[in-house]
């Protein structure tokens, strides 16, 4: 009798220990977020004690390493957005067209073969894309546009575009496939061709899922580091010229890490200020995407 009781009590204790341990695992994620926020904020506060946030956010010259130092972050933001925009120009039309083909035109067998092949592109490490940018894409660009510099934004934009392509094609294809067959039938029954059903019924119906995939891909392009570090260069400037070298926020952070900037110096602390800005931008985009996805789910309750 007491043996049973003892066994029961052991189980209860075991249960409590286990659930606490597991909760601990979950809490690690909260600690991670807190860690990121605390690190970025505290170090940035130290930075912003010496450099006014206004100068940081509105200045157009970024040269923390030169004397006189300039801390206008806009050239880095410009570089980041330029690459993201260029990558989007490549990835969005091609990715969406791919998704439409796989969802509306391709047979099941084709779709099941092609989709994982394209997802391989997403799994390739970014250093490889950087390598390709500088060894393959840039030489081709230079033959077509001789004025292209060795490090240029276009090369990085193209390879980053290819890298984020599968994100758009896979997620958009999921969104398109989720559109109920009854809507397509309604479109056909009114005399619409397959092209018209795809573009005027299915795509509009899947729009939230598709836009969510765009935002995810763009945010990935914004956070991309190695490909742009290798291919796009390290010259921060306020330029829209894709054939010139620029510098992104992420590449700058790498540049400082690789250099011998003294720890604790103002120049060193720029890492955290730029990192904070980067974090906030991608956080905003992720929140936007979650909001859109939630609205998508509401429509298709």
């Amino acid at each position: 009798m007491t043996q049973n009781l003892r066994a029961r009590r052991r189980l209860v204790i075991q249960e409590r220990v286990v659930s606490t341990l597991l909760l601990g695992c979950g809490v690690i994620s909260i600690l991670t977020t807190i860690g990121i926020v605390v690190v970025l904020l505290t170090q940035s506060l130290g930075f912003f004690a010496e450099v006014s946030p206004v100068e940081f956010l509105t200045g157009t010259r970024w040269s923390p390493g030169l004397i006189p130092q300039s801390f206008g972050v806009l050239p880095l933001v410009n570089g980041t957005l330029l690459i993201a925009a260029g990558a989007s120009v490549v990835a969005i039309p091609i990715g969406l067209a791919t998704a439409i083909y796989l969802s509306e035109y391709a047979s099941t067998r084709v779709r099941r073969t092609v989709k994982p092949i394209l997802e391989i592109l997403a799994g390739i490490p970014t250093v490889v894309y950087g390598y390709l940018g500088i060894t393959l894409v840039t030489p081709v660009l230079r033959t077509v546009f001789p004025q292209t510099q060795i490090f240029n934004a276009a090369s990085a934009a193209i390879v980053v575009g290819i890298m984020i392509l599968p994100m758009i094609s896979s997620l958009s294809e999921d969104a398109l496939s989720a559109v109920p067959r009854s809507l397509r039938e309604a479109g056909h029954a009114l005399g619409a061709t397959r092209f018209e059903v795809s573009t005027r019924v299915v795509v509009p119906a899947a729009l939230s899922g598709i836009s969510a995939s765009f935002i995810l891909a763009i945010s990935r392009a914004i956070g991309e580091t190695m490909a742009v570090t290798i291919a796009a260069g390290m010259q921060p400037k306020m330029s829209l010229n894709l054939l010139e070298s620029i510098e992104t926020m992420t590449a700058y952070i790498v540049q400082v890490s690789l250099g011998d900037t003294p720890y604790g110096s103002l120049e060193y602390r720029t890492i955290f200020a730029v990192g904070l800005l980067l974090f906030l931008i991608t956080l905003a985009m992720n929140l936007l995407r979650q909001r859109i996805t939630r609205r998508f789910r509401e429509v298709y309750e």
Binding site: E15, V18, S19, L22, L23, G24, C25, G26, I28, S29, I30, G35, I36, V39, L40, P93, I94, G95, A97, T98, I100, Y101, L102, Y105, A106, V114, I117, L118, L121, G123, I124, P125, T126, V127, V128, G130, Y131, L132, I134, T135, L136, L165, G191, T193, F195, E196, S198, S219, T225, M226, I230, T250, I253, V254, S257, F272, G275, T282, N286, L287
Partner: protein, 312 residues
Amino acid sequence: MSAPPFGPHGAEHVTAPTAPSIDPRGGRFEPRIETRRRKGRVFQALCLGAVIFGIASLVVLLVDVAADGLDVLSIDFLTRYASRIPSRAGIRAPILGSLWVMALVAAVSFPLGVGAALYLEEYAPKSWFTRMLQTNIANLAGVPSIVYGILGLAVFVRFFALGRSVLAGALTLALLILPVIIISAQEAIRAVPNSLREASYGLGATRWQTIRHQVLPVAMPGILTGTILALSRAIGETAPLIMIGALTFIAFDPATPLDSFTVLPIQIYNWVTLPQEEFRHLAAGGIVVLLTALLLMNASAIVLRNRYRKKL
């Protein structure tokens, strides 16, 4: 208007198409079917072109890397250390470094990730806390890898004074891929049919007993698949490890988790940035090794997933 004469029941009567239309409703439409069909064909061709572009990019990528890198591969390449002389350089230290790091990353992130997923799926009540936890994980999955590098630098390298060590790098990467593992493990756990759990509870088992004996065994293939895929992301990560100070010129084998180290992607990056042509080939060789490792990991994940699907 005179109606056309009707035949006996069962026989239709058709007047010539040029007869005046009785029906006033005709003619308000211009269907232009040929034009629309043609537009559709062009559109379909363009979409197919997009698919081909994607596949072609992959092919070009692989062919280019292989062409540049395959002739660099040799036993020497795999067993030598880095060197300023291209013909004497190898990827021994990066391979060992990557292996060390990956082993530690797996050891840390797998239990933590599965634990968190189990908590969220089996234990967590429907509260604001749980929802916040879930949103937090989703957000963390979208944070750029370099921010994790900054975190690792400040927390592991400096605060915990681990220095620029394998351990610091592994912990940083573990945090990076943790959200991915949690999310995919959650999916695998969610896919376990509830009837299994109910049967176990019905027999008087506690929640942990049910998890350990019923849920986990069934969900494990899916969990492993997700973990392998997450690890294959970690193996290619460069920026966070650069941030925590993984060096680029290592000429020894790491012996303890506190040793300095380098990993394959960083060596590749280093070689890519060097001007001499030969280093480009070395970089390509390193890429071939890296991609092969990735191929093996992904293939095993796919095999696992297929066997898992068959069981379900």
